[in-house]
């Protein structure tokens, strides 16, 4: 065979160094992302919030679920930085531990939605036809259900709401949007010539979907997954605020706000509800900045910048 005779040893000693020279599309996107100031601020903010939630035991000595009837609604002091709530629990400790629940809910609901969305969306967009109609009618059905009413119904039927159950419920009503977006990208990708090319070199359907199509759809997937985290955090906060989310005594930002349902607290005890409110605002804002930054970074039209 002739090609064998042409084999020459790799004579380039600096070979490994040259590998850094070629920028993959992902690396190019990362570079564009890093140029976006707001997005970088968003990332830094998120890192701070995540670090604080992980290191909660180091930042406070109080137990967030420990009630103390002698210390109800105390104003901020050196012992209780943000005062205490109506059951005498330390607000600062609840804020720190509460971030864990909010973030866990946000990210795990996103992952759950993402898995459903990627699987159903790629099946739908790749195979078209019957599979597509079936999945799309299912999304229509779920989209037609009002989220809030459905969530409230389930929450009031189930007595003991855990984080897992909560995540499952909100993921099961949120997957259609992501599914449709992924289906959309797949419909355009499947007509691309490199997909035909992959078929022509004998790649199987699974291989085409996972190796050739999903990496090309990573832009919209990542952007929407990020924004999904923010939506999930707000959903948790909203439901907990009206008392239909994660039940007490487990602290979450949402059920800390629940205290502010009382006008007295709202007027005179700002230290109980302003901090969790600001935390939700800052987190969601940071995530949205990251999402916007990712969208610009993955947008091929922003190449010129």
């Amino acid at each position: 065979m002739e090609i064998e005779t042409l084999k020459t040893p790799n004579t380039n000693p600096e070979y490994s160094e040259q590998e850094g020279k070629s920028k993959s599309p992902y690396q190019l996107a990362l570079r564009r992302f890093m140029k976006n100031k707001l997005a970088v601020i968003g990332v830094i903010t998120m890192v701070i919030i995540i670090v604080m939630s992980f290191s909660a035991p180091l930042l406070t000595d109080h137990n967030p679920t420990q009630t103390n009837m002698l210390m109800i609604e105390q104003p901020p002091s050196s012992e209780h930085i943000l005062g205490t709530d109506g059951s005498g629990r330390d607000n600062w400790a609840r804020l720190l531990y509460g971030s864990r629940v909010s973030l866990v809910v946000g990210f795990s609901a996103m992952f759950f939605t993402l898995i459903i969305g990627v699987i159903l969306g790629s099946l739908s967009g790749y195979y078209k036809g019957f599979v597509d109609s079936l999945i799309m009618r299912a999304t229509d059905l779920v989209l037609a259900l009002p989220f809030l009413v459905l969530a409230l119904t389930v929450m009031s039927l189930v007595e003991n709401i855990t984080v897992t159950l909560f995540v499952t419920i909100i993921a099961l009503v949120s997957w259609p949007t992501l599914t449709r977006i992924i289906r959309g990208s797949f419909l355009s990708l499947r007509e691309q010539e490199f997909v035909l090319g992959a078929k022509a070199i004998g790649a199987s359907d699974m291989r085409i979907v996972f190796r050739h199509m999903i990496p090309n759809a990573i832009g919209p997937i990542v952007v929407n997954a990020t924004l999904m985290v923010a939506i999930m955090i707000i959903a948790e906060a909203g439901l907990s605020f009206i008392g239909m989310g994660i039940p007490q005594p487990q602290p979450t930002w949402g059920n800390m706000l629940n205290e502010a349902l009382s006008v007295r607290i709202l007027r005179h005890h700002w230290y109980t509800w302003i901090p969790p409110g600001v935390c939700i605002l800052v987190t969601v804002l940071a995530i949205n900045f990251i999402g916007d930054g990712l969208r610009d970074a993955f947008d091929p039209k922003s190449n010129q910048r």
Partner: protein
Amino acid sequence: MTNETVLDVKDLKTYFYLDDNQVAKAVDDVDLTVRAGETVALVGESGSGKSITSLSIMQLINKPGKIVNGEISLLGRNLLELTDKQMTKVRGNDVAMIFQEPMTALNPVYTVGNQIMEVLRKHKNMSKKQARQRAIDLLKLVGFPRAEETVNEYPHQLSGGMRQRAMIAIAISCDPKLLIADEPTTALDVTIQAQILDLMSEMKDRLDMGLLLITHDLGVVAEYADRVLVMYGGQIVEQAPKRHLFKDPKHPYTEGLLESLPSVHKEEERLGTIKGTVPPAHKFPKGCRFSSRCPHAMEKCFETNPELMDLDHERAVRCYLYTED
């Protein structure tokens, strides 16, 4: 040159079943053979069924299209009898394909080397290291001067001609017996076209493969083909060795195509044209499919479609002008 028959297509029919019960006969009764070391050109206008023929050979016809009849034997094996799974072992290994648009035919998120290695690892079970070395060799073979660096480059870093070279490297990586090139140079500029075609015919000779060259460019045919099949309306209308076809075209369609070529020997004000366009594949005329545009059309041309008749052992034409009666 071994001269063995690599590809033998018989009575291939690929129909598209349209919504309103109409059937588009995109490929209808096509016979073709490609021998090792031979370049066969498939020529025709847009919509004449050239690309569908090539995709049928690869069995990459999507719904609503279907291969309804025929036999496609590659190295004596009928591809139509293989399962989908067996077919994935044939594609890229025994038969490879090069596409028209080098700009989109490579996956933008992987390096060139990675995409060559994918084929090698799938079909030749090579280790990563072996595949990488082979990828570098292949890139050198197709004329990349800095192959060690190019393996790590992404498609967007290469020009159109370079991408097409990379496509050729992918296509020949497993020493296919048949290479199908579907308008490989249409998207490239003229100087690069010649380089790419030269490279393809060099590879064809070196690896002793059959080359099925699909094109609408008669200049390319004149330069590179050994035999020419002229396609019209999903059927082969003329089949001839290249030198005969250009000197003495038989079918009125072939004549029309050749008259539409500019030539340095003819002094004419206007180039010839074939009036009209190819009728859509679900509305072919009742008789000869070219009858609606043919300058020599006779009464019976509108009644029945002529058969492809052998004129001598290497020429065949589908036209009543050459029947005895």
